[in-house]
């Protein structure tokens, strides 16, 4: 089922937008003028990925800096290591596995970004 996620003008190249379509949370990414949609929750600790950064095709999570390929959804790296000599428990939760992201087919129709859910 194809659903409009956003307008093309709403996501500049290198930008992302978090949307909820039919109960599914997505991060819609603009990589060099092409649009890609991945699940919005990080494959490590479920943070909202659209609040992270998109460097080319590499999406970096804002919480523990795990990285993902927005084209394939593949996990490229896990969370960063624990801060040394910290009195706090490791917030990066290294015991959690970092899973890849589910991707969704995207088409552009006129000014609309359509996602096939």
């Amino acid at each position: 089922m194809r659903t409009e996620a956003a307008k093309v003008s709403e996501i500049a190249p290198g930008g992302m937008l978090g949307v909820k379509l039919n109960g599914i949370h997505l991060a819609v990414c603009n990589y060099g003028g092409e649009f890609y949609a991945v699940e919005r929750r990080c494959g490590h600790a479920a943070a909202y990925l659209d609040r992270g950064t998109l460097n080319g095709y590499i999406l970096t999570c804002p919480l523990h800096y795990a990285q993902f390929d927005v084209v394939t959804g593949e996990a490229l790296s896990g969370p960063i290591p624990e801060a040394p000599a910290s009195k706090y428990e490791n917030p990066a939760a290294p015991q959690l596995a970092t899973h890849g992201l589910k991707t969704y087919p995207v088409t552009v129709e006129g000014d609309s970004i359509m996602v096939d859910l």
Partner: protein, 114 residues
């Protein structure tokens, strides 16, 4: 995590950084691939893509200075060699890196002091 995908990602992330510093990836593809693979292994083990040819110590601040690309922390030394320590990056004007030699840091420092 996929080794090849991470190697490709490191290439993608490093290229614009070293370009601004006047460096490029070593044109000998076999060396570049081997060094990147070593960095990915180190990253998967320790969390950072450390230089595969420099020893880590217990000093975290010093270790941070050998996280790739470490050129800004050793700029004069690497500029003198026209390559970084492991050879993953060479000066942009280098087409044949086989003649580029490593200058040990102590020798470089000694020479620069006099």
């Amino acid at each position: 995590m996929n080794l090849e995908a991470r190697k490709k990602a490191l290439r993608f992330l490093f290229a614009p950084i070293v370009d601004k510093l006047g460096y490029k990836f070593n044109p000998v593809e076999e060396d570049t691939d081997f060094l990147l693979e070593s960095e990915v292994s180190l990253e998967q083990k320790y969390g950072f893509p450390y230089c595969p040819c420099q020893a880590r110590t217990k000093d975290r601040a010093a270790n941070m200075k050998i996280v790739c690309p470490c050129i800004p922390f050793h700029r004069e030394h690497y500029d003198a060699m026209k390559r970084c320590w492991c050879g993953l990056f060479v000066h942009k004007d280098v087409s044949d890196p086989s003649g580029l030699k490593q200058i040990p840091p102590d020798k470089f420092n000694k020479k620069n002091r006099t």
